[in-house]
């Protein structure tokens, strides 16, 4: 049945990565001329779906069919989807900073006269495209001189140069300020008037409410809901319920916390983006961690959770602008990672492979790598002691491997994560900041890591748990902070919180911010 109205119909899309079913029979229908919003938690499968659509994952690497204009299509790559007018704008902009606006717009499809680039024609066409997106800049200006909002518009101009019919925007406003966001949304509305259909992935419910004609909610790789809405009259609560509404099984160990006095107190912590001056990634954040307590940090992508954690951990991210830290009441300075470790801080990164591990190392060298001092005897590394320490952790944490001399790159995600946990337990930290410690690992290993977290807290340590999985935060933590746009937007006892109330606090942007009671 061909519905005249439907531009795109993706049916039963299933995409399996080794060990993970990222998409499990997702279907979505997009009407011509609509702005279709796709919502879902981090990891729900939204970006994977868009990569399937745009040919990043070519035809044959997934199951299901894509029907465009009533006929099935089989994209072999981005080029072939672009040929059909589908253009994706990624969250991280893909412009070349050193090239001019015009050069960027026509990158890959250069305007040529014979063998040479027709600079004049390119400039003229670029100017016309910039006019359409309402950006008044000289096409010869290097892109690096533009702000993020302007760069986003250049991306859209680039898409328009390809005769875009279906524009996919992945979190288009996540890096933009209020004015630029409003601009962008206005532009999307304008393009819609010119027959451009858009798919917008967004976490910002107020934006969806403002411009979407239809909403599809994806959760755990499945389509949960898909329905039409009237722009301006969107029920945000319904979207939130659909986003988080998974059933909670008994996936979390129970624990009776013995919370003692304050261990780490952070006040007015403020951090600037490392490359974008003036953009605060952490904005006067204040919080505290008690002994024996597991404290969760909930926030959406880009909210500043990781940035806050890494900044606390030896200012290893961004530019420190101000704020104080107290450990057991004593003010401490930890301007380097080494000093943070000395003060008893540990940070387990969310990005295990690029920031947490040297994949050339074996388990043994990984475990001792943050505390070499402890295995040095007379200036030399004591190999026997190193082996003993590593074997101890391998046994205690049940790292499944033939020996501690096995390369970490051969381990499964869960065992790798345990090795990294051991690495951070070995220095004997007081405060462990765990950033997405269960990301990408299987349920069984997750449970073991939860138990480990509880065991560490029972030893009187303070645990900070950063996670995108709200059930995990609710299941493991004693107390929760929510963070949005670099600001702490709420503090709740885990017992008093539910996913919906958390999601509301996590999406409290500066515009919607009401006066929050900070208990």
């Amino acid at each position: 049945m061909v519905d005249e109205d439907v531009l795109l119909d993706m049916r039963g899309i299933t995409k399996v990565f080794p060990g993970v079913r990222a998409l499990d029979g997702v279907s979505i229908r997009v009407r011509r001329g609509d702005i279709h919003a796709i919502c879902g938690e981090n990891g729900a499968g939204k970006s994977t779906l868009m990569k399937v659509l745009s040919g990043v994952y070519p035809h044959g690497t997934f199951d299901g069919t894509i029907v465009l204009d009533g006929e099935p299509v089989a994209f072999t790559g981005i080029k072939s989807s672009e040929a059909r007018g589908i253009v994706i704008i990624h969250q991280e902009l893909a412009l070349i900073p050193e090239l001019s606006v015009a050069e960027n717009i026509f990158l890959g499809s250069e305007v040529t006269a014979g063998l040479l680039i027709d600079v004049k024609l390119a400039r003229r066409r670029a100017a016309a495209l910039l006019e359409r997106v309402g950006l008044r800049v000289d096409p010869d200006v290097p892109v690096k001189q533009l702000g993020v909002g302007q760069q986003q518009l250049v991306e859209i101009a680039k898409a328009l140069s390809k005769d875009v019919r279906l524009l996919i925007l992945d979190e288009p406003t996540s890096a933009l300020n209020e004015t630029d966001s409003a601009n962008l949304l206005g532009l999307l509305r304008g393009l819609k008037g010119h027959g451009v259909t858009s798919i917008m992935i967004s976490h910002k419910l107020n934006e969806i409410a403002a411009i979407a004609d239809a909403v599809t909610v994806i959760r755990d790789g499945r389509t949960v809901e898909t329905y039409d809405v009237v722009a301006g009259q969107v029920d945000e609560d319904r979207i939130i319920r659909a986003m988080v509404g998974r059933s909670i099984e008994n996936r979390y160990p129970t624990r009776t916390p013995h919370v003692a006095g304050p261990l780490l107190e952070v006040g007015d912590w403020t951090v600037e983006h490392p490359t974008i001056p003036g953009r605060l990634v952490v904005d006067h954040a204040s919080f505290h961690i008690n002994r024996g307590e597991v404290v969760g940090f909930a926030g959406l992508m880009g909210a500043g959770r990781t940035e806050l954690a890494r900044s606390i951990f030896g200012r290893s991210y961004g530019t420190y602008l101000g704020g104080e830290m107290r450990l057991e009441g004593e003010p401490i300075e930890a301007p380097t990672v080494a000093s943070a470790i000395r003060h008893g801080l540990a940070y387990l990164t969310e990005d295990r492979k690029t920031l947490g591990l040297n994949l050339l190392d074996d388990i043994q060298t990984t475990i001792v790598s943050a505390n070499l001092r402890d295995i040095v005897r007379g200036g030399l590394l004591d190999r026997r002691r190193e082996a003993e320490v590593a074997d101890g952790y391998r046994r205690d944490l049940r790292i499944k491997s033939a020996s501690a001399k096995v390369g970490v790159s051969t381990l499964s995600g869960g065992n790798q994560q345990k090795a990294v946990l051991a690495k951070w337990m070995y220095p004997g930290p007081q405060v462990l900041i765990l950033d997405e410690p269960t990301r990408g690992i299987d349920i069984g290993a997750k449970y073991e890591i939860y138990k480990l977290i509880h065991a560490l807290a029972d030893q009187g340590k303070g645990i900070v748990l950063i996670s995108s999985e709200l059930p995990e935060l609710l299941g493991i933590c004693n107390r929760l902070y929510t963070i949005c746009e670099g600001r702490i937007t709420g503090e709740v006892a885990a017992a008093d919180a539910d996913q919906e109330s958390l999601m509301r606090l996590m999406t409290t942007t500066s515009t919607t911010r009401a006066t929050q009671a900070s208990a």
Partner: protein
Amino acid sequence: MTTLKNIFGGNLQQYTMVLALVLLAVTFNVISGGRMLTPSNLQNLISGNAYVLILAIGMVMVIVVGHIDLSVGSVAGFVGMVTAITTTQYGWPWWVGLLAGLLTGVVIGAWHGFWLAKIGIPGFITTLAGMMIFRGLVIWVSRSISVPVPSEFSVLGAGYLPEWGPAFTGMNNSTLLLGLLAAAWFVWTEIGRRRDATDLPVWITAVRIVLVLAVIGYLTFLFGTGRPGTSFPVPGLILVGLVIVYHVLTQRTPFGRHIYAVGGNKAAAALSGVNTGRVYFLVMLNMSFLAAVAGILFVGRATAAGPSDGTMWELDAIAAVFIGGAAVSGGIGTVTGSMIGGLVMAVLNNGLMLMGVGQDQTQVIKGLVLLAAVAFDVLNKQQGRPSLLGHLMRSAGRDAGPAPAATAPAATASAAATDAAVTSVPVSAGPVDAADTLPPRSS
């Protein structure tokens, strides 16, 4: 098979490269009619290549941290000239000139380290500039004229160990003593090894000891029975000393660990508390220091410093390191591996010379060998098998040989990392860019 494995330390591959070296030497010996394995030829081979091998010690550390040093030839030449001028023209005592040369090397190293670690200019560029600067300076300060050095330096560059003790041994007793020390050290480590692996059959240890002692004995005999007054050469002894020191430094100290950590994953090392800038600085400093040592040994052997000394040495050193199993992407490579790589080049040079092959053809052959050795390495890795050379070198160095995949090339590893990142979190909370890690702009 298992038996062989046991004899060869649980890993036959570990000895492949050494075996290749031995085969090469024996083959050349046969082709050249026995002129390869003679006392004087081996003594010359060691004296004549010690400086490149010393450069390779420093170079492997630079390459492990993920950089390269193109300036070492120019620095060696410059330091040699500084030593010659201060002693011969200024009349400073030879040892003051020696110290001045070494200090010059350290200062140059600090200069390179500063641009790399503090300013953030890649080592390739920093040292390309250094290559030009110091080559220019050699010619400048020497006015393009060779400057002789005092005779004391020739002891360092081409000298022999003293003759002493009873004559009934029939050889140079210093060399004999070295051989005995080497043998004793090996037996001692074998016994120590048995303490860790108690289930190892005694006869396996015995076979290992007999095999290695035979090799040590043969070499001792060759080096010790040359012309009267010759022995294992002094530059060779300096080289052996440096190899031991740097092997321990890289494999057994926290600083050595940091070198591998920074080379393997700089961002992860920084987040483990490693001061990456300091590691870069010290590695560059050390490289130029060793270049100074190499330069001084060379002028000692040549008895004079010339304006073109050290030209292209950097390339020989780099070739030795890569033949020795180091990875261009950093994180992999050992001092001992590089020494074997350097010896392969040296034996090749020497053997071709003995066969009467011209310099032109020798260059071609050396180039092809370099390409073949590294291609073999790369192909091995691509097929998912452990890299033979890389594995050998890493295992030889870190005697706890990691599992095969541990030496998978960084390219594969990072590709796997990307895949896994996509796999596990389709919508990842964009990891904070690794490049943002360092240097922390805050203060």
